[in-house]
């Protein structure tokens, strides 16, 4: 009796040991992203984590808050934790090169999503949101809605974020070809909804004759729209960028006219799939830099938009 008990206890302990060993032996994928306060980045992290777990990895989600120094520390953490791969939405195209190179030196491959870095040959893949193409789509829709003429203002994103400039460039490379469209104001509202509200109020006071607002992202578009509603100027055409659920709801209610969806969710999944393939076979079978196009969202397809995915 005693012996049996002892044996079964031993067996149980051995089983436990095996189980915990098996758990510990799972490979780790580190997912390093900007602040999840922005639903876009949250969607990115959630998608990467779910796909990695489904493929049998442990995950470690770390947030760099768009701070390159903090990102550098998080790379140290990922290296110390012996991550097998890093999924990264980086904190600056120049500043991130050193961190990615450090991981490479430690034998950890990086797979970038959303934003590109300024060098090739360091990350294994860079799956880049085509912000420029998306901005052109938004601008073409804006031009159409404006019927190629009238005064407008532009709200620009935070200066430190590369995409603020890229989107603005995409807007202007389209809009500036139409001589009937005249920009009467251009101001940064730092991606912020309350800031965009105030900026829109003052722009509207200085230029009561504006017909349109083109905004670098959806949160600023929401702020501008609120200011236009308050000033009883719902005739003004507003176009945003990101494809958030807030702007989707506004489009469906006839408020904001259009936005541009960045496929954040699918992009993260693809990065994890390529990391998995690379870890198993030593190659992804794809070019390092891969552009993922954005999709125009307007009244025709807004109802199919949910958390940065366009449902079929």
């Amino acid at each position: 009796m005693k012996l049996t008990r002892l044996l079964s206890a031993l067996a149980a302990a051995a089983a436990l040991g095996l189980a915990s060993h098996a758990a510990a032996a799972k490979d780790l994928i580190a997912i390093i992203v900007p602040s999840p306060d922005n639903p876009f980045f949250k969607s990115e992290a959630v998608a990467a984590e779910a796909r990695a777990k489904a493929l049998g990895y442990d995950t470690l989600v770390l947030v760099h808050d768009d701070d390159a120094n903090k990102q550098n520390e998080l790379f140290d953490t990922a290296i110390a934790r012996k991550a097998k791969a890093i999924i990264l939405d980086n904190a600056g195209s120049e500043a991130s090169v050193a961190a990615v190179a450090k991981a490479k030196k430690a034998g950890i491959p990086s797979f970038l999503v959303d934003r590109e870095i300024s060098q090739t040959g360091i990350a294994v893949t860079q799956i880049v949101s085509n912000n420029y193409q998306g901005a052109q789509l938004g601008a073409e829709e804006f031009v159409k809605l404006m019927k190629e003429k009238g005064n407008f203002v532009e709200l620009v994103g935070r200066e430190a974020d590369i995409n603020a400039g890229v989107r603005s460039k995409g807007y202007h490379d389209v809009i500036d070809k139409y001589p009937g469209l005249k920009m009467v104001g251009r101001q940064s509202a730092n991606w912020s909804q309350p800031e965009a509200f105030k900026t829109m109020e003052s722009l509207l006071q200085a230029n009561p004759d504006i017909k349109g607002v083109i905004s670098g992202n959806d949160t600023m578009a929401m702020g501008a729209w609120a200011a236009l509603v308050a000033a009883k100027r719902t005739d003004v055409i507003v176009v945003g960028f990101d494809g958030s659920n807030d702007v989707r709801d506004s489009i469906l209610k006839g408020g904001i006219k259009a936005t541009v969806l960045q496929p954040a969710f699918r992009q993260s999944e693809i990065a994890v799939e390529q990391a998995d393939k690379f870890l198993k076979t030593g190659a992804t079978g794809q070019a390092e830099k891969q552009l993922m196009d954005c999709v125009l969202i307007n009244g025709k397809n807004a109802a199919r938009l949910e958390t940065f995915q366009l449902k079929k």
Partner: protein, 228 residues
């Protein structure tokens, strides 16, 4: 760092983390005050703006020697190409198209099309005409005639132009715009805007698609109208 013992390594990591926290605090403070003071509005292109990059010159340099030969070599006659695309899009793409991205990405096709103009919309800057290629009187393709040419089909149909070889997405996009501008200057600038409907058109052009059932929108690189 690899040669350090574990306690040393831990101490070093702790040091780095502490230094990081201190730096982190400083950094955030500087950035917050900076943006509040200046209210800085980044220029279009931001950090990717590069005055030294001249897409127009690059495209002009390779147009005759590389671009046109590469397109002529892959062009498929429109009606036959459309049938091949419906039979098997990837097989047709491998023969008459190009795509840098792998499986599932849209193809960029090159086609030679001869047909009759059945409609024209020359009011907008992004003017177009609809062309019947198979003689049934109905439009089979939309042809862009500019001056504004939309899309990146021309850049993307050239196997020697790649995103990985470009410095960033802005320069890559500027190449696409420069290709479109060059196509307009060479093929479309002299085209009349009136009386297009009913005339016969003969063109070499490119289009992007992932669905053979859709009528394509073609960007011409060479185009002639029948003499009236």
């Amino acid at each position: 760092m690899r040669s350090l013992s574990l306690p040393h390594r831990l101490a070093a990591i702790t040091g780095l983390v502490l230094a990081g926290i201190v730096l982190h605090g400083v950094h955030v403070e500087r950035r917050a005050s900076g943006s509040a003071a200046a209210g800085a509005t980044p220029p279009p292109g931001g950090q990717f703006a590069n005055r030294a990059f001249d897409a127009k010159a690059q495209v002009g340099d390779i147009w005759d020697a590389k671009v046109m030969p590469a397109l002529r070599a892959r062009a498929g006659e429109f009606v036959a190409l459309r049938a091949a695309m419906k039979a098997n899009l990837d097989d047709a793409g491998a023969k008459h198209g190009h795509r840098e991205r792998g499986e599932g990405a849209p193809w960029n096709f090159v086609t030679h099309l001869k047909g009759r103009v059945v409609a024209a919309d020359t009011e907008p800057s992004a003017a177009t005409m609809d062309v019947d290629a198979d003689g049934d009187g109905k439009a089979d393709a939309t042809v862009q005639i500019g001056p504004v040419l939309r899309g990146t089909a021309l850049r993307d149909s050239l196997p020697f132009i790649s995103f990985t070889a470009s410095a960033n997405q802005v320069e890559y996009a500027q190449l696409a715009n420069a290709f479109n501008d060059e196509a307009f200057a060479r093929a479309l600038k002299a085209l009349p805007r009136q009386g297009l409907v009913g005339r016969t058109v003969d063109l070499l052009g490119v289009f992007t698609t992932d669905d053979a059932a859709d009528d394509p929108t073609i960007t011409p690189v060479g185009l002639t109208l029948d003499p009236t």
